[in-house]
Symmetry: C3
């Protein structure tokens, strides 16, 4: 188990943690297995998508903001961040990625992001590598 810590600077921000995850997989020495990437937060989530065009990060964030309006939910009376919770529920707290020949078996255009839907904050990403046996 390893922890990546990221600091976001905007209210909505997707941070690319792919390189950190790659280093953790490499240092684990695991050749075949699974790599779990987990966001231990109720207003953040993990997604896998393209970062070759970094605009996609803002497109994903904007799309979710168009779908989930702010300020109109029960929880807004308490914390005013209900939309952040709902977005996290839609995107999901975990992704699990195969490891093949000691590397993440991701596609050419895939990167791993933590999505902060309630920044700016310090966020953690927990990475767990399990060998095939």
């Amino acid at each position: 188990m390893a922890v990546i810590t990221v600091s976001t600077s905007k209210r909505y921000e997707l941070v690319d943690v792919t390189e950190d995850v790659r280093v953790i997989v490499k240092e684990s020495g695991v050749k075949e297995g699974l790599c779990n990437v987990y966001a231990p937060h109720a207003t953040a989530a993990i997604t896998i998508n393209e970062n070759a065009d970094p605009n996609i990060r803002d497109d994903i964030s904007d799309a979710l903001s168009q779908l989930i309006k702010e300020g109109c939910w029960r929880h807004d009376r308490i914390d005013n961040n209900a939309a952040s919770h709902i977005k996290a529920a839609i995107v999901g707290a975990s992704e699990t990625i195969p490891i093949v020949n000691g590397e993440l078996a991701m596609g050419t255009w895939q990167d791993i992001f933590i999505c902060d839907f309630d920044g700016p904050r310090t966020r953690k990403v927990i990475v767990t590598v399990l060998p095939k046996s």
Copy 2:
């Protein structure tokens, strides 16, 4: 492998199964590894979010109902629950959570829910604990 059984009483209901999952992890004796939580249903899903304010459960459910209208889909002519299937596809059938020092490495504000999008029904949650090696 362990099975949690829950009975829902409403058409849309998020049921907190965190304590049951914690007991299963503890009884497994696994100190480091992964815990997979799986909903074996086509109109239910697993999500991780906050339950300190239980209103969030209804906010998530309401948000999905606003996004996915009922009664207007092809499958409604057969079963009249297409929206339930679409919501399950968006939220997803599984989440996988790290285990560290014999405990679920979840955030302070995270709880595990099964989302019943087609209740009331009896639903199952399958919990699988894998040790690191």
Copy 3:
């Protein structure tokens, strides 16, 4: 680790890969464990839902198309497929399914799909089976 290759013929298409995954699980000889199903693509995703009524596949696809409009995003100026990326982020690249008694512990009405949101293309699904220990 095994790879399933599918060819889609439409722009939006959900392809049922359940039988291929079942064969991979059977041939692995694993009796208890987890099966990870992963889409190594930035415009495709994995979902689990019903295929007894194949209309549900189109309902899921249509619902996502209603939620995420085309042609209005930053990335559309580069690749004209931003909506495909956003849909993949919402549905997610991976699902992980328990294996019990040598079989996928899926519900009666569950099938595994790769969702191609930017077809027609050749797509891969990576299947990884991890024994309990």
